[in-house]
Structure formats: C-alpha cells, structure tokens
Subunit: 155 residues, 2 copies
Amino acid sequence: MGYSDYTGEFKYSVDAKHRVNIPSRYRKIMIEKNVSEVVISKGLDSNHIDVYPLPKWITLRDKITSSMQLVNRTHRNFLRQFTQNASHCTLDSQGRIMLTPKLMELAGIKDNGNVMIIGMIDFMEIWDPDELKKHEENTPLTDKDFEKLEQLPLI
Amino acid sequence: MGYSDYTGEFKYSVDAKHRVNIPSRYRKIMIEKNVSEVVISKGLDSNHIDVYPLPKWITLRDKITSSMQLVNRTHRNFLRQFTQNASHCTLDSQGRIMLTPKLMELAGIKDNGNVMIIGMIDFMEIWDPDELKKHEENTPLTDKDFEKLEQLPLI
DNA sequence: TAGATTTGTGGGTAATAATGGGTTATTACT
DNA sequence: AGTAATAACCCATTATTACCCACAAATCTA
C-alpha cells in the first residue's frame, strides 16, 4: 500500500455538467503511482458512490472473478450489481471526474449541489452530504467496536 | 522506539490561519528519525486531536486494514470513521502544522486561542486547555483502573 | 552579563487549488 | 448525411494554501 493513502473528508460542489473535483492530495498520489483512470461504481451497501483507482479496481475485479462460481445464483447477482453500475473515467485537465446520471440518482446527489469525498485508504467514496449525515447518525461506533479494537495487538 | 520519546506538556497559540507550533524537542526527534509528515486525527475516545508521526500512523493503519474485509458492512463503517477525520500534514518551515476546521470543532479549539500539546511516548495529543482541565478533573484513575492495568504484561 | 542563537508568532506574497463557463470535437439519433 | 445532444478541451476568476521574511521573547554561551 505504500506510505501514501487516501484519508480525510472533503466538501466539493457538483456543477451543471456533473463534474466533481478530486482532492489535490489524492491527485498527487495518483500521479505518483502513475494512475490516471478511476472506476466509479455504486457503493457496496448504501447510497453512495465508490471511486476505485484503476489498480485497485483490477485487484477487486480479479479477486471476485477468480473466486466466483457462475452456477451460483447469489454469485451471479453479486457480480451483476458489481459491474452494472461501474464506469471508467479519466480526470480532466482540472482534475475532475464526471458522474453518471444513474450513479447520482442512486446516491441522491443533485445537480449544482455538493458532495463529500471520503478517503478509504486505497479508494474513495462520494456521498451526498445529507445522506452521509444520516448514515453517521445511524451507525455510531459502539463500545463493542472499541472492545474489538482493544483485541488488536499493539494498539 | 529508541531513546527519544515524546513526553511533557506544552502550551501554544493557534493563529488566524489555524497553525499550531510543534515543540522544538519533538521536531528534533522527528528530524533525527527522518520524519517530516504527521497524520492528525480525532482522538479515539474524547474531544481532542491525535498527532501521529507518519511511521506510527502507518503501523496503526496497517493493523486495522489488514484485519478488515471490504465486503463486511461493519468493517467498512469502522474504516470510514477511522479515516474520515485523519488528515496528513507536513510541518512548514517554521515547524508548524495546520489544523482542519472539523478537528478544531471536534476538539473545541478556537481560532486565536491556545492549545496544550501532550507527549504520549510515540505520538502526541492536542487539547483545548479547558477541555483538558475538565477531563483531568472528571477522570482520575480509580483502583479498578489500576487493577485492569495490573493485567497488562510488563508493567 | 552581554552577545549570539534558538524558538515561537505574525503577516505579505507567490503559487496552487477549486470552480465556472465558452468553444470545439465527438457521438448518437432519425 | 444532417442535426441535436453530449463530452472533451481550454481559459478565466476567485479562494486557499505554501512559502518566505521579520521580529520579539526566551535560552544558551563565553
């Protein structure tokens, strides 16, 4: 994973052309790693968008296809969900990507609205600010979570 | 960990640009260890800021990400909360770091106010002076705490 | 104790980042 | 093929940050 990772939370606007800025720190990391393309897709569980730098996407894709059994209905359904809403995009000269109408709809992101971008170490998430707040309120870290943390060695 | 560690308590100002000085003794240790970058994040339990020199952050991060599965919803939620408030910063030529508005808010630190910096051996904490005093008054170590501590090896 | 160095703090300026919009090229549609 | 819609490209403006210099207070040194 190296020393540079995607962390933090950023607020950006969505313009009339569905363009969203990628944080400059993230762009620097991508340049350093020679990545100029990302794959955006529906977040695995909820109403947000996942942004995978291409190498991460390839890792994910290969992991899934190699362990998947096409005769298994659940596997097929999962694979469909995973790829159906995935689209490749390259950053424009200003460092922005263009969201698709379908993903914006799924994530509740509005034209000329705002988004929150969250770093997830080796990929990113794009949220509608209200959806994010709602999600945070519904999933606070519990004491049980902290107990789990304590069981990790060296922390 | 070597012979040099972060200890002690220091009082510094926060200027209008959200800059906070790092104690020169700490800076010397960092130079000695070739560290020019830290990650600041929300303190695990309370209202203060944690400052991890980069190597410490990497250790933490890898411990957490290695025990984590992306398809697990709880894991994803935990990872999000872990990274969300973490932001990388490099010291400026005067040896200061810039705090983010969100972390200042979470820690109750005010523009043009003061902070206390506390050494935690291999990382540091930044507190609002009032919050720190309150915390000290409200959480003296009890006998029960010491009993728990006795269960730790090597102490 | 006087001078020299380090440390903490403040502020100006140049560089970078974020955002908006116009224009041309590409694709899609009938 | 001609037209409409869309996306890529370019430039302009504003906001923010990084970089630099300056100075005062504190500490060290001889």
